[in-house]
Point group: C2
Chain length 143, copies 2
DNA sequence: CTTATAAGTGAAAAACATTTTCAATTAAGT
DNA sequence: ACTTAATTGAAAATGTTTTTCACTTATAAG
């Protein structure tokens, strides 16, 4: 079950952050969006409810939510990053290179590989990034 | 066996591109570097042999080599992308978040997962990005 | 309900990475 | 040598993210 805006706000507060109107507005938009959104797109949506907010604050709030593990961030080489409400726990992405839509999936089974690489290279592996790219159902026609 | 500068230059030429002194200089640096390098870093190195070259040309040449599949490009969320001579075929990376060093590995076994995702989501999957992050041997002390 | 204050805000500027423009140069074929 | 389309590089444009700093405000203490 997706966390509510109230829940997220309260977690923020518990961590010693102030609950400002701007932060509530950003949280509302994130909670009510299914898609992964770039800061600029989120900014547009947030402004509908809170016209005076600054883009900087959106950036700051998103980073903060991300650091608390409440939302998930995706880097899309070159393009701007996107954020979305974190589904429960570890997951990965499937990105459409045409329209940018992102689908999530949760299983990856990389432990064995990770273990072996760690031994071979001496790296202390702390995480992984797994992402498939391709074309979504809508973008398979033409071009 | 890594391709030689001569080999790369000749491939470039075969594809109908001109063989300029600038391109030769970029190719030389790429061939003689083991690390993944950002355009700016490559630019610095290229300037030692060819002081008058412009950063733009380095960008253009790298993109061109990448499009021909001769070098491999890595996006590092947020930071600048890096390029390196393509080891033969498909491979992945292990990145140190402290110093940025990159190690390559070649096996990933993602076909089964890919097949299943493709069916479940309707995506036509064209590639994947797999990357482990952690700390290399040198960067494991402290912090 | 004040008051104090540390946290938060936002406009503007800075910092970057990358791309575009365009006049001048040059590799390569005839 | 001549021609010409490809290439170059300085500068400007673009686009994203970060920094700065004077001003505002949430929150907690009195
Ligand atoms: Zn699509
Ligand atoms: Zn995973
Ligand atoms: Zn390191
Ligand atoms: Zn692979």
């Amino acid at each position: 079950m997706r966390p509510s805006a109230k829940k997220i706000a309260s977690l923020l507060s518990q961590k010693g952050h102030k609950l400002t109107a701007q932060r509530r507005a950003v949280i509302d938009v994130v909670v009510n969006s299914r898609e992964h959104l770039a800061p600029a797109a989120l900014y547009e949506r947030v402004r509908r409810a809170h016209p005076a907010i600054g883009l900087v604050t959106v950036y700051r709030t998103l980073e903060m939510l991300h650091e608390l593990g409440l939302i998930c961030r995706v880097h899309r080489g070159g393009k701007s990053r996107t954020y979305t409400l974190a589904p429960s726990g570890h997951h990965h992405h499937l990105v459409c290179t045409e329209c940018g839509i992102v689908a999530d999936f949760t299983d990856c089974d990389l432990e064995v590989l990770q273990q072996r690489l760690s031994q071979e290279t001496g790296f202390k592996i702390e995480g992984h990034l797994l992402q498939f790219v391709g074309h979504c159902r809508n973008c398979q026609g033409g071009t």
